[in-house]
Symmetry: C2
């Protein structure tokens, strides 16, 4: 397809597509003559991912480039490739090591992961920005004096594990190896707002059922 | 307790506490003489909530005041009071009504709520900012061409309903009526980052189990 059709099908303005091409976020089309290039479904798919990252995930352009490099690096296995791409996304802030609540939070997270049997997550503890985000979030609960109990946290984790299983089941049915990583990154960025809204809506629904709307 | 102890127990600097007092985010203490006021557990609890809103939820001070007015309005029933407080929190953006994907998303959300039997959420559709956030998130999926199926969305919603049931079970065991609304607002702000981190970590864990770490 030509640039105009790529723009129409993706809903991205041609000027924006040209900008993404210049910045290397989108591979060049196949040049058919001096002024015309031909694009295919892989360009459309990539363009959707770039939009998801930049417009929904509010990922800066330089950071989006880094994410895409990991997505395209087929020297890596799928978990590492997906992990590298997801880790390059903007993360919640890491813990402030000066804070005494952080050491307590780290122990609590470690106890949780042991209880759950999440061995990979324990192995990745020193590396993963997701682990750091969880430690930060738990440290905040500790610092503000909010009660947590191990059983409650484990129950939340098991539910989020069920969500993650569905995420991956969905990927199994979607496209080639390269596409799977693309879809996974987009899904992380695009489905988190869906899950957050469903959670808040479920709170309203359940609260109304238990206590009425008076 | 005196201001110094309130500061030590909450981890909030005395200058910041004085600022919250001036701004009306914290009720004045009981004046024991011209220069000294006495604070109690309710001040400590409120201070923790204010910190959760401002530091973790990044709620602007004026908005935090509005949230607290709803928390304190005991003319309202619990669902409405909690709803009003939660609705005053910063929300994901509402849908762009010019966007043709929005009408399709609204239909999809309505079909989902019917399927789930979430009648209150359907009744609140025109009012709730959470409903608007969900429509926006689904419209983005539609616009970017990401497949959704009703069964998958319903399964995610059922899982988030289980999370919400646990949220409310936790509240049942925590404190007086006024405290419940305070704890609920803080929990929404403080637990969302925990759930997001648990979700991403579960994705890593599940991916490693299915595909290995190679």
């Amino acid at each position: 397809m030509r640039l105009a059709e790529l723009s129409a099908r993706s809903g991205v303005a041609t000027a924006t597509i040209k900008y993404y091409l210049r910045e290397g976020l989108l591979a060049p089309g196949r040049q058919v003559n001096a002024t015309t290039a031909e694009y295919d479904e892989s360009h459309l798919r990539r363009l959707r991912l770039v939009r998801a990252l930049i417009q929904v995930g509010r990922v800066p352009v330089a950071r989006a480039k880094e994410v895409l490099q990991h997505v395209d690096d087929d020297s890596l296995g799928r978990t590492i490739r997906l992990g590298a791409a997801l880790w390059a996304l903007p993360q919640d802030p890491g813990p402030d090591e000066e804070d005494t609540a952080v050491a307590a939070a780290r122990q609590e997270v470690d106890a949780l992961l042991r209880r759950l049997g999440w061995e990979t997550s324990r192995e990745l503890a020193g590396l993963s920005p997701v682990h750091r985000s969880l430690v930060t979030a738990v440290a905040t609960l500790i610092r503000l004096g909010y009660a947590r109990d191990g059983e409650q946290m484990a129950a939340y984790a098991e539910l989020m594990h069920q969500v993650a299983r569905r995420d991956l089941d969905f990927l199994e049915t979607h496209g080639s190896e390269g596409e799977k990583v693309e879809v996974a990154v987009a899904a992380t960025v695009l489905f988190e707002p869906v899950l957050r809204a469903l959670h808040r809506m479920a709170q309203e629904e359940e609260s109304a059922r238990r206590y009425g709307l008076e």
